[in-house]
């Protein structure tokens, strides 16, 4: 199949060999699970269980709040020991509402769990409803509620489902392992999603550094001739949704649009697997595969982790640290977030836990920009990172936005190639955050003004009404009086 070229990109050392050979192992249940109510983009779920309540595996703990939200289920059977706040799986380490569950060790599924023998007989909307009820979100890390994407057929003319098996982040091997070990289940999930979307073509893109996954998926995809496994060149950021679509079908997604604008929906293999589990067996999303890797980990590997497991438990299971890690990251080394501590729980979007040594993360002091333009050549979005960073540093954020800040996907290719080690992505994140904050302040000001004006109008109306009522009473009194005089 002919592939289309995208501009820019980099070739970091993939370092996947650390964990690529390790089969997915089931992580034993930890003594306590902390299940955050927000593990997705959108509104947090609202708790529907009480402290002290006994729950079964897969039981609904907190239903979703509105369309753009996702419910949370019990990862195992046990007792709810608390509903409170707990440090989030986020760089900030801020507390979020979290349900704490003490496993009873039986790991007993709820009786309400029931699968469907033939999901293809269901109406597309019914599939999306079940995916939504199972709490499935984009498991590549974006955590966008999957059902919303499966419902896109209502508003767009879709023709292709793309499965993003690029896994272009170094170190991560969870999708690779899943596609190798569960190829049939992943393909089944893909076909169910294709049915929900009503597409005629399915492209499964896998980078060439995963030949075993390519072979396994090709084997499993034979039963459906709509499916094509595409071998992608190994190049970061191949897994960027819009760039992957561009590579596969040669169509560029409009700036700030959705891939659905060009008729394509992109899902992750792990999401497909979760859809398979949810539709065939009725199992909600209660666990996921994570890669635990990095030079500081004694025994790197791939684990099926119950959601809510404290990360320290994963590290201990992998033999602990061989050396003191310099960096602890959630996700891959190119776009991952630093973790505030190892107490935080694994969530739906966690694809990797990396503990990097000093040598691996190569921190160096920042030097002046020599305008080498390495970042311009590396940027897959056609931006001028060095100019954007210069303006962000001087605080001229409007100029940064003019230069295309909002089209930046934050892939970090620019900062990766920078010979002066300028933290370019950091500048862009600062500018994005600051612009958003300014927008909120502006919005607030407009809103305050509107409310104040409304109040003034309301007050004026009340005054007017009062005056009128008074005048009416007066008139009535006067009339009564005159009537009284007349009758006298």
């Amino acid at each position: 199949m002919r592939l289309f070229k995208i501009r820019g990109g980099v070739h970091p050392e993939d370092r996947k060999l650390l964990s690529a050979a390790e089969p997915i192992a089931d992580l034993p249940l930890p003594p306590l699970l902390h299940i955050p109510l927000q593990q997705h983009i959108g509104a947090p779920a609202t708790p529907a269980v009480r402290r002290g309540e006994q729950v079964a595996k897969g039981q609904l703990l907190a239903p979703n709040q509105g369309q753009l939200s996702a419910p949370v289920h019990a990862p195992t059977s046990g007792r709810i020991v608390g509903i409170g706040s707990f440090p989030a799986h986020h760089a900030s380490g801020l507390n979020v509402r979290t349900i704490s569950l003490q496993p009873d060790g039986e790991d007993r599924w709820s009786n309400a769990i029931e699968g469907i023998a033939d999901p293809f007989a269901l109406a597309p909307a019914e599939i999306a409803a079940r995916v939504s009820a199972a709490g499935i979100v984009g498991m590549g890390g974006a955590t966008f509620p999957s059902a919303v994407k499966l419902n896109l057929r209502e508003r767009y003319r879709l023709h292709t489902l793309v499965i993003n098996g690029a896994e272009c982040e170094p170190y991560l091997t969870c999708d690779d392992r899943l596609m190798r070990e569960q190829a049939a289940a992943v393909v089944d999930g893909v076909r169910i999603m294709a049915h929900a979307l009503g597409v005629t073509r399915i492209l499964i893109g896998i980078e060439n550094n995963k030949p075993d996954a390519q072979a396994a998926m090709e084997q499993a995809a034979r039963l459906d001739d709509r499916i094509r496994v595409v071998h992608l060149p190994t190049r970061y950021p191949m897994g960027s949704e819009k760039h992957l679509v561009q590579t596969l079908i040669g169509r560029e997604t409009p700036a700030r649009g959705l891939t659905a604008d060009v008729g394509v929906v992109v899902h992750n293999p792990a999401t497909a697997f979760a859809v398979h589990e949810a539709l065939r067996y009725g199992r909600p999303l209660v666990s996921r595969v994570m890669t635990v890797s990095g030079g500081a980990i004694r025994r790197p590997g791939n684990l099926r982790v119950p959601l809510g497991t404290p990360l320290q438990y994963l590290i201990d299971h992998c033999g602990g640290f061989e050396v003191e890690p310099a960096r602890l990251i959630s996700g891959g080394p190119m776009m991952g977030q630093p973790l505030p501590s190892t107490r935080v729980p694994a969530v739906k979007g966690s694809n990797g836990l990396l503990a990097l040594t000093v040598e691996e993360s190569k921190w160096r002091a920042t030097m002046p920009c020599i305008r080498c333009a390495g970042c311009v050549r590396a940027c897959p979005c056609g931006l001028l990172p060095l100019e954007m960073a210069t303006h962000a540093r001087t605080g001229d954020l409007e100029r940064v936005a003019d230069l295309g800040l909002m089209d930046c996907i934050g892939c970090g290719s620019c900062a990766y190639v920078c010979p002066s080690h300028i933290p370019l992505v950091q500048y862009f994140n600062y500018a994005k955050g600051e612009l958003a904050a300014r927008g909120r302040i502006k919005q607030k000001r407009i809103e305050t003004k509107r409310l104040a004006e409304q109040r003034a109008q309301r007050m004026a109306a009340i005054q007017r009404a009062k005056r009128e009522a008074m005048a009416q009473r007066k008139r009535a009194a006067a009339a009564q009086k005159s009537q009284a005089t007349n009758t006298d």
Binding site: K242, H243, P338, T342, S361, A373, Y416, H421
Partner: protein, 337 residues
């Protein structure tokens, strides 16, 4: 493990970095220039080595003196002062008094770089600023070309002249190939130009070694190949046009490519990342502009050589070129169907 380890809190992604650093890139440039420098010393004798060293000394010393005391080490280790001094030295005539070369180095770094705000902020190529200063201040010394003396260790008297006292330019003077072409209408055998057996500035004569160094830098991804390629192609193209119009009056394209400072300028000076465009399209515009100016100055200007001014003029145009050549942003201008 400590739970709130401060080391875990700071560094933003990406945590992987490619191995190339600014200092390494500068080291590569110095390495690439080494053969041409050695050839210059071989052809022009020990005096040439002294001149190049004086240029480097002036540049590095100025960098050191004007850096805040805490940053001196880092500023010298980034190697940019060394490269500026070396490039300046290579673009000087082989009989220049040492004190002039030293002064050129001082001006290169002082007025060419530091006054703009240091590394990365200058508009013009520092080495060429220093050279332009010398050419304006000491026009005679800067255009006196000494022929090969034959004796490697013989240092000409003019090189050791005392500062500001009139030096004597009595050595065996010989015109450069471009000079003989311009003023006498005589060409020089191509092979002499290629290996560098002609008169001219210290580092500019050996075309072959300069090109080899350039290929090394392109392979190491230290320089943008578009700039030398576009300069050389456009010089060849414009010269060819003139040559076809009047083969007797104008030099042939190969002569134009290998004579004067074109290769040194196109490969090592115009490609200075700080003063050249950052966009691929901009690099082509910049290169064609330099090429056109080189031919115009050489053929119609008062000087036989125009590489220096061509590059300086295009340096001035760089911000403008950058502004109008930003690549198309991904997804921009794509209509939602």
């Amino acid at each position: 493990m400590k739970l709130q380890d401060p080391k875990l809190l700071v560094q933003p992604a990406p945590l992987l970095k490619q191995p190339l650093t600014t200092a390494k890139a500068m080291g590569d440039v110095a390495f690439a220039l080494a053969p041409a420098t050695l050839a210059g010393v071989w052809f022009f004798g020990l005096g040439a080595l002294l001149i190049v060293s004086a240029g480097i000394a002036g540049a590095v010393l100025t960098e050191w003196v004007f850096s805040p005391s805490g940053q001196r080490r880092a500023k010298l280790l980034d190697g940019s002062g060394l490269i500026t001094g070396l490039l300046l030295g290579l673009s000087l005539p082989p009989g220049l008094p040492l004190w002039m070369a030293f002064l050129g180095g001082v001006v290169s770094i002082g007025l060419g770089k530091l006054i703009w705000g240091g590394l990365g902020y200058n508009l013009f190529n520092p080495a060429l600023v220093g050279r332009a200063f010398l050419l304006a201040t000491f026009p005679v010394a800067m255009t006196t070309w000494n022929a090969h003396t034959g004796d490697f260790f013989a240092v000409q008297a003019s090189i050791l002249a005392t500062p500001f006292l009139q030096a004597t330019y009595d050595g065996m003077s010989a015109a450069t190939p471009l000079g003989t072409m311009k003023f006498e209408g005589q060409s020089t055998p191509l092979w002499d130009l290629v290996i560098g057996k002609t008169s001219g500035c210290i580092g500019e004569t050996s075309g072959l070694l300069l090109v080899l160094g350039g290929i090394y830098l392109v392979l190491r991804r230290d320089l943008d190949w578009r700039i030398p390629a576009s300069i050389l192609l456009s010089v060849a193209a414009f010269s060819l046009v003139l040559f076809l119009i009047d083969p007797a009056g104008y030099p042939d394209p190969l002569f134009s490519l290998f004579s004067g400072g074109l290769l040194l300028g196109a490969i090592y000076m115009a490609t200075d990342p700080v003063t050249s465009p950052i966009t691929p399209k901009g690099a082509w515009i910049f290169g064609v502009g330099v090429g056109l100016l080189v031919v115009l100055i050489r053929v119609f200007g008062g000087f036989p050589e125009g590489v220096m001014y061509a590059i300086l003029l295009m340096n001035a145009a760089t911000p403008l070129i950058d502004r109008y050549t930003q690549p198309r942003v991904f997804g921009k201008g794509i209509k939602t169907p």
